[in-house]
């Protein structure tokens, strides 16, 4: 049994061992091993040239990572907290995401940007944001997130292996979750990086979620089960591109869908999923797609976050509403 943090650490170690072009960079990720210790021990093992403590500048981190990628390296950047990715927004949106198209396909930027995201740990402002929608709306980026140690271990390796830029969200409230991880299983055997996964099968309704919300969704499904309703839970894993076939095959069966995420609902991922389901299986649905998300306000002070974040109760409320439709 290892934690998600340890799984990510081992996944990074495996990726660095496999390919000498993989370098890790960010604030306090070297000697300290990162504020969440995800890169712990890597600098001792691979040296300060491959595990670089950088100056305190996010635009600089992503901008120089782009330069390193142009030189043939495969940088894995850490943004210390979700709320600190914005200074790098131009480098991510205008440079990282678009360089391939801007260069008519001549330039590839295999850069991974790790972001400890979402809330639930009682942190101060800027440390609990779910800003994935900004990047999902940006053409040219892959956006993924892991909900379990096993996924953390494989997905970070797959992200590093691909030739497209990847925004890699790690649900910080799950860093300490423990589970078995088979480190010997061949990476090729793992589900593709863009593939969603059904984490609980059900017949009456599909809950579409990812990252930190997978667990409360499963709790809600269990409660629903005890109340005699069969709820399927799909962990999207990849937010861009979306695994639409998987989503459709589940919802076409259950004919009802609830989308759950921490991000504010307005133009949160739930909006896109609702629109896609309306476009693709309008006649098959028996109820409107319902969204359970963060409220459309800035993330509240820590002592109010429990009421801000979706939980099993709020998910069940939507499940009931959908089933009662």
């Amino acid at each position: 049994m290892i934690t998600l943090g340890q799984a990510l650490n081992r996944g990074l170690r495996a990726a660095m061992t496999r390919d000498p072009r993989v370098v890790v960079m960010g604030e306090d990720i070297g000697r300290l091993g990162g504020v969440f210790r995800v890169t712990s021990g890597l600098q001792q093992e691979f040296g300060a040239d491959r595990v670089m403590d950088t100056p305190l500048a996010e635009s600089g981190i992503v901008g120089t990572a782009i330069g390193l990628a142009l030189r043939g390296y495969r940088p894995v950047c850490e943004i210390q907290f979700d709320g600190f990715v914005y200074p790098a927004f131009d480098q991510i949106v205008s440079q990282l995401a678009k360089m391939r198209a801007r260069s008519a396909g001549r330039l590839a930027l295999p850069v991974v940007i790790r972001i400890p995201g979402s809330g639930g740990i009682g942190a101060v402002e800027h440390h609990s944001e779910s800003n994935e929608a900004y990047f999902v709306h940006t053409a040219g980026l892959r956006v993924v997130t892991c909900a379990t140690p096993a996924d953390g271990y494989t997905m970070i390796q797959q992200a590093v292996t691909g030739d497209d830029p990847v925004i890699f969200y790690e649900p910080k409230c799950r860093y300490w979750d423990k589970a078995e991880v088979d480190e010997d299983a061949p990476l090729a055997a793992a589900p593709a990086l863009h593939a969603a996964r059904t984490v609980r099968a059900g017949r009456d309704l599909t809950v579409l979620t990812y990252g930190s919300m997978v667990r409360p969704a499963l709790v809600a499904a269990q409660i629903a089960h005890e109340e005699g309703r069969s709820v399927e839970v799909v962990d999207l894993r990849s937010l861009a591109p979306l695994d639409l076939p998987a989503v459709l095959s589940s919802v076409r069966r259950t004919r009802r869908a609830v989308v759950v995420h921490e991000a504010p609902t307005t133009l949160g991922l739930g909006a896109e999923l609702s629109a896609l389901l309306t476009e693709h299986c309008y006649l098959e649905m028996e109820a409107p797609v319902l969204r359970v998300g963060g409220y459309n306000i800035p993330y509240p002070p820590a002592r109010a976050e429990e009421r801000y974040l979706p939980d099993a109760d709020r998910i069940l409320e939507a499940v009931d509403a959908s089933l009662a439709y």
């Binding site: 000697r31 942190a123 101060v124 409220y295 459309n296």
Partner: protein, 353 residues
């Protein structure tokens, strides 16, 4: 490096800063630092006991903060970073108002207009531009004010801080940037952060600069007073680099033993800013035992009040955040808020939420 009070507590003459230290000034500055440190310790205790979510100590930086803020006028607007607790106390901000943010009951606890002290900025460097813009406004108003903006050695690497330095010079902003170089940005030392001292870089941008012993409250006070006077008189913007040290970890979540030696910390403990002024007060006979005992009682009282005030801070409601998102709440958001409140009301207090 400008120094007027040596670590051993003896005064140093500096032609550029004629020593006009009065016993009263020394007692006041000492008191501010002493009380700030006691507050800092109490906050640490509160965090260790789970009453605060996080705490970032100012331990070791009291002289830099007290010396600078005491040297500007009460109406001069201040833009802190997030560790300027000693400066905040000097402005009359209450312990509870400071702790609210770290207890997680608010994102900021005080009224910036009332204390002329902006809310803390946790996004490093952002406040340097706010301060610069504010200072441009001061110039447009033709007011005789100066803006004081704090940031750290690590924040100096951010684009915003550098844009601000350039902007302040071009826009002739009446501002004093005060960089507390405590030599660490979490685990990143200044050698990994910059190639030259911040004051050298700032001079390159065209600011007037000072490099001062940040653990010498008298030097910091004298330097900041002179800088503020010159800026007020229409001089170019100023950057003061105060060389100091972060004695504690970055925050209560940090374990500094991973990246720095105890020996280094001990070295700086010997350069303690409070101790050297205590030595001076005693040596010069500017304060007697009664004074120090009185100060101890005051500090104990402050600690007790701090704890009591912290524990009695009311928990925040989600309604507040809703109401504070827009000046005029959009109808849709009002509906969302009312639905949320109705939903919350559905749970009996203390029940499963």
């Amino acid at each position: 490096m400008i120094q007027l009070l040596a670590p051993d507590g003896t005064l140093r003459a500096d032609p550029r800063f004629p020593l006009d230290v009065t016993p009263a000034l020394c007692r006041d500055l000492h008191r501010d630092m002493f009380l700030a440190r006691r507050f800092d310790q109490e906050a640490l205790a509160l965090q260790r006991q789970g009453e605060l979510g996080l705490w970032l100590m100012a331990l070791g930086q009291e002289a830099a903060q007290v010396g600078s803020i005491r040297a500007v006028a009460a109406h001069d607007h201040v833009f802190p970073s997030y560790r300027e607790h000693a400066a905040a106390l000097c402005r009359g901000i209450s312990p509870a108002e400071i702790l609210a943010q770290w207890r997680g009951v608010a994102h900021s606890g005080w009224d910036p207009a009332r204390y002329r002290f902006h809310i803390y900025s946790l996004v490093l460097g952002a406040q340097a531009l706010h301060a610069t813009g504010y200072a441009v406004g001061v110039r447009l108003d033709g007011a005789q004010e100066v803006v004081l903006a704090y940031f750290g050695d690590g924040a100096s690497s951010q684009g915003d801080v550098n844009e601000a330095l350039n902007w302040a010079v071009v826009a002739r902003a009446p501002i004093v940037f005060f960089c507390q170089n405590n030599q660490w940005a979490i685990s990143t030392g200044t050698a990994q952060q910059m190639g030259t001292p911040v004051h050298v870089r700032a001079a390159g941008f065209g600011l007037d600069t000072y490099f001062v012993d940040g653990n010498d409250v008298l030097a910091v006070h004298a330097v900041t007073a002179q800088a503020a006077d010159r800026v007020r008189a229409g001089g170019p913007p100023v950057l003061i680099e105060a060389f100091t040290y972060r004695i504690a970890g970055h925050s209560t979540s940090d374990d500094p033993r991973i990246y720095r030696s105890e020996a280094e910390v001990d070295l700086w403990r010997e350069r303690d800013p409070v101790a050297r002024l205590t030595t001076l007060l005693r040596a010069e006979g500017w304060a007697d035992e009664e004074h120090f005992e009185q100060l101890d009682r005051e500090a104990r009282k402050l600690a007790e009040e701090t704890r009591a005030a912290c524990l009695s801070l009311p928990d925040p409601t989600l309604e507040e955040t809703f109401r504070h998102t827009f000046a005029q709440e959009p109808p849709l958001l009002r509906q969302e808020r009312e639905a949320m409140s109705a939903y919350q009301a559905g749970f009996t207090d203390g029940a499963d939420r």
